[in-house]
């Protein structure tokens, strides 16, 4: 059965502001899934809370719209319970790097084969414009009235420092390139992380489409994403921000490591308790 991009459409009102970066992000994902012939039935979209977190409401298929900051934990467990599903964990920079920082830090250590897309708009959109961990120093908001003074969080550098197995950055303004990156992420076995620049046209007056266009460039074709130190070096660049795949580090996935799928690939829901084994175990207490 061939998948159509429209298979992912839902007849609901989309709640984002006109011009929001989440629109192209949605389009890119739908088209990529279509290109890869991933059906809505085989995918699960897991989101947190925030504007990016509403993503799951606007795409057809299985979904969890969970709590603010906790979606990576939901996603990891889905993959561990049923490795046959394609799991997409999607949310905002506040959700992922602030409330969910600990899960971001640790989920990558497990290396589950999930695709984690963080819509990075350097602001809290849904709660109306507070600074996020990726906001630049000096940015003023209704709460950061004297300007942000915390050092910005560098998700790419942290992920590489953590030896995450696939680390990329993309920009919604570049649909084709982003699709390519997304396809690589989907093909990757293990945790695939994409920090996706996605402008908030209502609250972030600095990091506009224009700004991202002018302040980013793609990692050269000659760049090989296998040297951790080199990759971090690129992640630390600030004058212009590189886009593309920074780092790949193939290693056993979480689903492999769990070992229970080695001899039996059935998802957990298909399995039944062996009363024989239970009997043996109980009898071991005699």
């Amino acid at each position: 059965m061939m998948v159509n991009s429209s298979d992912f459409d839902r007849e609901v009102e989309v709640h984002w502001c006109p011009g929001c970066g989440n629109y192209p992000a949605l389009k890119i994902l739908k088209e990529t899934l279509t290109d890869l012939n991933i059906t809505p039935n085989n995918a699960v979209i897991v989101t947190g809370i925030g504007q990016a977190g509403k993503f799951s409401h606007f795409i057809e298929g299985n979904m969890i719209n969970g709590l603010h900051g906790r979606y990576l934990s939901n996603a990891l467990a889905i993959k561990a319970s049923n490795p046959e599903l394609s799991v997409f964990a999607i949310s905002g920079d506040g959700c992922t790097y602030s409330e969910g920082g600990n899960h971001f830090l640790h989920t990558m250590r497990y290396n589950p084969s999930i695709v984690n897309i963080v819509h990075d708009n350097a602001v809290y959109g849904l709660t109306k414009g507070q600074a996020s961990p990726t906001s630049e120093i000096g940015v003023k908001t209704g709460v950061q009235t004297l300007g942000v003074y915390n050092t910005p969080f560098n998700p790419i550098a942290v992920a590489i420092a953590q030896n995450a197995s696939f680390v990329a950055r993309a920009f919604v303004g570049h649909a084709e390139q982003t699709k390519e990156i997304l396809k690589k992420a989907i093909a990757h076995k293990g945790y695939a992380f994409i920090d996706l620049f996605s402008p908030c046209v209502s609250f972030n007056r600095i990091n506009t489409y224009q700004w991202y266009r002018e302040n980013t460039y793609y990692l050269e074709d000659s760049y090989t994403p296998f040297d951790q130190k080199e990759a971090i070096g690129r992640a630390l660049e600030r004058s212009k921000l590189p886009l593309g795949v920074f780092y790949i580090n193939e290693r056993p996935t979480y689903e492999d490591n769990i070992q229970i799928y080695k001899n039996d690939s059935r998802p957990l829901w298909e399995r039944d308790l062996s009363k024989e084994k239970l009997k043996t175990l109980i009898n071991s207490f005699r």
Partner: protein, 576 residues
């Protein structure tokens, strides 16, 4: 306090963390049970890895023994601090058997019968002081006239992995211990201990702890995902399942924190797994928001909460029943839930098993409340009725157009899972429509809340009845819940021997409460509530539900469990 317990002997091992008391306990209880005696043991220990003073009480009996008494027949001290540690439990019938250096100058020991046995010296003769625990096992087993061959076998099993030499030395140590016991007895250093009768049928019974019963219940319930962040006293349940994970196809995950744990359990159930979270009060506190997520999304969840005294870090290795209100009210917004609090090992097994079915069917969180005392207490029982349990999945194969929150007569929407069927499984943490779209519609909000409360009504119907023991004519009705079962029952039995007839109502499901409760409460002239907490949390619940106040509340919040002696004293107050 001077209750005789003429059918049992109570042995206390007391020493520092790291001295191997647990090994002595395991070997001894195993040997005794296998010899056909009824055995009970319970541990109390400090929150440290080495040093301090811990103790284990082992009761050996002619009859079934499942409760904790203060009386000590034999104390084996492993440190100088040991005797004073249990001084309130010692009397003139207590025999202290150990190296006299550990007690000879201790005034707390002076009223007892003192027997000098130098386990270490014997061990050193065998080759190393490391064998002194085995010598102690030998002495105790010998005094209780356990089959020597059987102990040798146990030693062989236990030390097998360490090589033949070590096995043989341990067997030798036990043998020497038994010889010492013979000497002690023949030299009449001891008063006559209660003489026990063993029964061959007991030897093949199970010997389990509360921890084991909960973990086995989970496996019987079809648990295939266990998630936890280590925290006393709940970690053992997780470790048990982790050890057995390849055998039963269980995903076992020590998470980065408790918040991740609950949210993983959520994801796992969503995808069709049967997940168990095991934690304690402080960890559960962090799961409050996650519980609320399960509430609004009608996701099954199972949480085992091993209670310990709070607030905050409190007393990490002590016991309390202080988290009932926490689990009952935690989570913002209203949603139904079920709370079990098993009182016996059998209940712990069956209720944990059932928790998975109830959660799956009604799509609600089920919390299993145990506590440090329950988790760390063991006794023998004939069997666990796993054969009659079934794993009910309550999952459907969805059709296209499936709506996760379809309004139904009974409030229960058939549950599908991703990857099975044509439908899409959409779940949302907002107030949502039947198909899980965010909504701000007042009518839908109201209907969705009402839907949840319909489920609560049904959960009341399937609530487990409280366990009533006694005659409905008894003037005093004693009530308790959860882990206090055996100790309260033990006290009532003792009072019965003194001619007092009290009836007893024990709750192993504390929310929602079964409606039959009302009759018991109304009939009783006097009601005495026994709770291991400061405020009488369950008494409050009974009042809220049935409008009846307790005549007396026996509350203990020292961090320690009730003993039979203590309860006899407290209950007697209502008899005067």
């Amino acid at each position: 306090m001077a209750i005789e317990f003429s059918d049992s002997i109570s042995i206390v091992l007391c020493g520092a963390a790291g001295q191997g008391i647990a090994t002595v306990e395991t070997l001894l209880t195993s040997a005794l049970k296998k010899s056909g005696f009824h055995v009970f043991s319970t541990q109390e220990f400090m929150s440290r890895v080495r040093g301090g003073t811990n103790s284990t009480t082992i009761r050996v009996s002619t009859n079934r023994v499942q409760s904790y008494c203060e009386k000590i027949d034999i104390l084996v001290p492993f440190t100088r601090e040991a005797v004073s540690h249990v001084k309130n439990r010692l009397s003139s019938i207590s025999c202290i058997i150990g190296n006299k250096k550990l007690f000879e100058s201790n005034s707390d020991a002076q009223s007892c019968i003192l027997v000098d046995v130098n386990y270490e010296a014997v061990a050193e003769e065998i080759g190393h002081r490391v064998y002194s625990n085995s010598v102690a096992v030998g002495v105790l087993a010998g005094l209780l006239q356990t089959d020597r061959q059987l102990i040798a076998g146990l030693m062989a099993d236990r030390f097998q992995s360490k090589g033949e030499k070590i096995v043989n030395n341990n067997i030798e140590a036990v043998k020497r211990g038994c010889d010492l016991a013979d000497e002690i007895m023949s030299s009449n250093q001891l008063p006559p201990l209660p003489s026990l009768i063993n029964q061959p049928s007991v030897s093949s019974e199970l010997y389990l702890s509360g921890r084991d019963a909960v973990a086995l219940g989970a496996i019987a319930g079809g648990c295939n995902y266990v998630i936890f962040y280590p925290m006393a006293p709940s970690t053992g349940v997780g470790a048990f399942l982790a050890r057995n994970r390849l055998k039963f196809g269980i995903v076992s995950d020590q998470t980065e924190d408790e918040i991740s744990a609950i949210n993983k359990a959520f994801g796992a159930w969503y995808a069709g797994a049967r997940a168990l979270v095991t934690t304690s009060g402080g960890g559960f506190a962090l799961m409050t928001e996650g519980l609320s997520l399960a509430g609004v999304t009608e996701m099954p969840l199972i949480i085992h909460l091993g209670q310990r005294p709070g607030p905050a870090t409190g007393m990490p290795t002590r016991t309390e029943q202080g988290d009932l209100e926490l689990v009952l009210y935690s989570g913002h917004g209203d949603f139904p839930r079920v709370i079990y609090a098993p009182g016996t090992l059998k209940e712990a097994f069956l209720m944990t098993q059932q928790a998975f079915n109830i959660a799956a069917k009604y799509q609600v969180p089920v919390i299993i409340l145990t506590d440090h005392y329950f988790i760390n207490t063991s006794y023998n029982l004939p069997s666990l009725d796993y054969e009659n349990t079934i794993v009910e999945k309550h999952l459907i194969e969805t059709q296209s157009g499936y709506q996760r929150y379809q309004f139904t007569e009974d409030g229960i929407s058939p549950r599908g899972i991703p990857g099975r069927g044509e439908g899409f499984i959409r779940v949302d943490s907002h107030t949502h429509t039947q198909n899980s779209q965010i909504t701000e519609d007042p009518v839908i909000r109201k209907n969705m809340v009402d839907k949840m409360f319909k489920k609560l009504q049904q959960l009341k119907e399937v609530a487990i009845k409280p366990n009533f023991l006694g005659n409905s004519e008894d003037e005093v009705l004693v009530i308790s819940w959860g882990s206090t079962f055996h100790n309260v029952k033990g006290a009532i039995t003792e009072l019965g021997k003194k001619g007092h007839s009290l009836s007893y109502l024990h709750f192993s499901q504390v929310y929602p409460i079964h409606r039959s409760t009302s009759d018991y409460l109304k009939k009783a002239k006097k009601i005495v509530m026994v709770e291991n907490n400061a405020t009488g949390q369950f008494a409050q619940q009974l009042y809220l539900e049935f409008g009846i106040k307790m005549t007396r509340k026996v509350l203990k919040y020292t961090g320690y469990p009730f003993s039979i002696e203590e309860l006899v004293k407290e209950l007697e107050k209502e008899l005067k």
